[in-house]
């Protein structure tokens, strides 16, 4: 049984999920440790084993019964999506964290299709960016816009809030830095082309600055990371309507059809080893989704996708 250290590297977006999971895993807390492995959760799984002992046990690892001593240790490093994907491909690490698909990350390099097939794609969570507006706009009664209107706003074809049912006030469209992952995925998902030309009024480098600007302004619209949405404060969310479906904050932003969502991947190379499967299954468990994914302000996988993902690493494959 392979008990060497499980290593991972890659995207800073996926890092919080896999890293929090690895911290919990490595500490191997006993049931009843209310902070890390509460009895309610243990009861739900019907076990009295320690956290990592239980999840590794599903894959035939023997329980150590000791704190800070799991069946194998997990170590997650922090870099970029591309680095994570290459690390897996060159077998430097076991798990490659990536916030974009491996195909997109390796686009333009000379990796053959056969080699690409060796990537095993495990989606551990979903990142979704809500549309937010300035407080004044939300208070004036603007609750939702359509995808078409959003496209026009970021191309300066709609420039006044009155055109989308708001007050007679100019629109201040805020975006992210050119070349950043968020900017690229916004173009790709909203306009269907990562090279699409858009012309926001202002660009910001970080979510914090963006949130501050939305608060300062009384006519701004922006897309921002989930953690910075404040429905009662300065950054109220806006619904987005696409083909008759309304996507709303707190309801269905994690769904695959929402254009500002993206999958968070944990890639493995040439099938998943027992060790990799045990850890990824841990991230995909209800406990993992709640604590590591939702706890880090990402969206849990919807139930149907969760089932598919779990089947890929099911313990029954390793008997």
């Amino acid at each position: 049984m392979d008990t060497s250290v499980l290593t991972g590297d890659g995207s800073s977006t996926v890092f919080p999920i896999t890293n929090t999971a690895s911290s919990y895993w490595n500490s191997n807390p006993e049931t009843g440790d209310e902070d890390y492995w509460p009895s309610e959760w243990a009861e739900e799984y019907g076990t009295d084993k320690r956290l990592a002992d239980y999840f590794a046990g599903l894959y035939g690892y023997e329980a150590t019964g000791e704190r800070s001593n799991p069946a194998f240790r997990v170590s997650i490093a922090l870099s970029h999506s591309g680095t994570g994907v290459e690390g897996v491909m060159e077998e430097r690490v076991d798990i490659g964290d990536s916030s974009a698909s491996a195909e997109a990350e390796l686009a333009g390099s000379d990796v053959s299709d056969e080699e690409m097939d060796n990537f095993v794609d495990h989606v551990v969570g979903v990142d979704g960016q809500p549309i937010v507006v300035s407080r004044e706009i939300a208070d004036a009664g603007v609750e939702q816009i359509t995808l078409d209107e959003l496209k026009k706003i970021y191309r300066q074809e709609i420039t006044n809030w009155s055109e989308v049912g708001g007050p007679d006030r100019e629109i201040l469209a805020l975006g992210r830095a050119e070349g950043s992952g968020t900017d690229t995925s916004f173009r790709a998902n909203v306009y269907g082309d990562p090279e699409a030309s858009i012309s926001p009024d202002q660009r910001y480098g970080q979510n914090q600055q963006l949130a501050q600007a939305i608060g300062q302004a009384d006519n701004a619209i922006a897309y921002i990371a989930l953690a910075f949405v404040d429905p009662e404060g300065d950054t109220p969310p806006l619904g987005l309507e696409i083909d008759g479906t309304l996507y709303e904050y707190g309801k269905n932003l994690g769904s695959k059809e929402y254009p500002l969502s993206r999958d968070l991947h944990a890639y493995t190379w040439e099938d998943s080893s027992r060790k990799e499967a045990a850890f990824i299954n841990f991230c995909l468990s209800d406990f993992g989704q709640e604590i590591f994914v939702q706890g880090n302000n990402y969206f849990k996988l919807p139930q149907d996708r969760l089932e598919t993902q779990r089947e890929m690493v099911a313990p029954s494959n390793y008997e």
Binding site: G179, D201, Q202, Q216
Partner: protein, 365 residues
């Protein structure tokens, strides 16, 4: 000119013979050995070798021994070495900048600096094939002009007051105060600009964006102010007292003396101060980065400094350097090259102007 060319080799051989006869053999060996060690260390370091430590230790040992045996020669060698290192670092930076900007120059040619159409797709247009620095050069020009309009009159007036009019006690307080202004970190100015100036213009005058060339230009102007005051004040105070006394003795008032004697005599020094201030304004990064809107384009009309666009050569590097790759990265390096040459021209001009003033004043003494 020809004379110098012919004289050159002869003078070098004379200097070499001079060095040979005045320096002990051991010291010459030390100089030579230090040179070899350093060259070796640089080469190994460049190749990424783990043996770099050997020549470095050799260098330290040679210098240590040399310092004990031939202290004067060792000191001479070391000071000479630091000069070489400074120049070498400059040369390495320039060649690195040029090397990294070659790809985008190959792709764009002179269009890199002159392309103005299509206006919406100058940065990353046509599937990441078009990278033109023109909008950013215009942005740099606009912010620099606004900053100069703010800083030059204020700076010169301040310098005249401090140097010619202020009572000693006032000067003793005001001058260090202005020099202190130069010590305030640029992000502090930027933060004030971001939270106060930007916000004021946006809420009171409904500017289309939060932050524009006008607001950034004003803040940069304030930042360039101490440079201008300090250099201009130095120039005014180097005007020989005899010139002023002469004018006063002829019956002119103090203001007439300042206006017609001191200022014209110090004119080149004052203008070199303004040029240095402009250089400072052009290279200012942090304050402009937090204040501008980071959208690229040409204001219409050209003088619409409140318009929606806001990006300069420095801010685009600071803002996008972290995410850029490929041609975009190369374009940012090209932006660095453009900035470097503009600032270099400015500071050489100001050095030249200062040199001329010194020559002129000495001649008249």
């Amino acid at each position: 000119m020809l004379q110098i060319l012919q004289d050159g080799p002869r003078r070098i051989t004379r200097r070499a013979r001079d060095y040979r006869s005045r320096t002990e053999d051991g010291a010459i060996a030390m100089h030579g050995l230090v040179g070899v060690w350093l060259l070796l260390a640089f080469l190994l370091f460049f190749l990424g070798s783990q043996w770099t430590i050997v020549p470095v230790l050799g260098f330290l040992a040679t210098v240590g021994y040399g310092w004990v045996r031939y202290q004067a020669e060792a000191a001479k060698g070391m000071t000479f070495l630091t000069t070489i290192v400074t120049v070498a670092i400059l040369a390495l930076i320039i060649s690195f900048l040029l090397l990294r900007s070659l790809p985008v120059f190959g792709q764009m040619g002179l269009d890199l600096l002159t392309k103005t159409q299509p206006a919406g797709d100058l940065w990353g247009g046509n599937g990441g094939q078009i990278w033109s620095l023109t909008p950013m050069m215009v942005g740099t020009a606009i912010t620099t002009i606004i900053a100069t309009i703010v800083a030059a009159p204020l700076g010169v007036a301040g310098a005249v007051f401090i140097s010619e009019m202020a009572p000693t006690r006032v000067r003793e307080i005001v001058k260090p105060g202005i020099e202190l202004m130069a010590g305030i970190p640029s992000i502090t100015y930027g933060f004030i600009g971001l939270t106060i100036v930007n916000q004021y213009l946006y809420t009171e005058f409904r500017t289309p964006t939060i932050g524009n060339y006008f607001a950034a230009g004003i803040m940069i102007g304030i930042m360039a102010l101490p440079t201008i005051v300090t250099v201009a004040e130095d120039a005014l105070s180097t005007v020989p007292e005899s010139m002023k006394s002469g004018s006063l003795a002829m019956g002119s008032t103090e203001w007439q003396t300042t206006k017609s004697v001191t200022l014209p005599a110090a004119l080149s020094g004052v203008s070199s101060g303004i040029l240095l201030g402009i250089g400072r304004a052009m290279g200012e990064t942090m304050a402009a980065t937090v204040m501008l809107s980071h959208t690229k384009g040409f204001p219409t009309p050209f003088i619409d400094v409140f318009g929606g666009y806001g990006e300069t050569l420095t801010t685009v590097i600071a803002f996008e350097g972290g995410n850029a790759s490929g041609l975009q990265m190369s374009a940012l390096f090209a932006g660095g090259v453009v900035l470097f040459f503009m600032v270099m021209v400015l500071s050489t001009t100001s050095l030249f102007v200062e040199w001329r003033m010194e020559k002129k004043l000495r001649g008249e003494q």
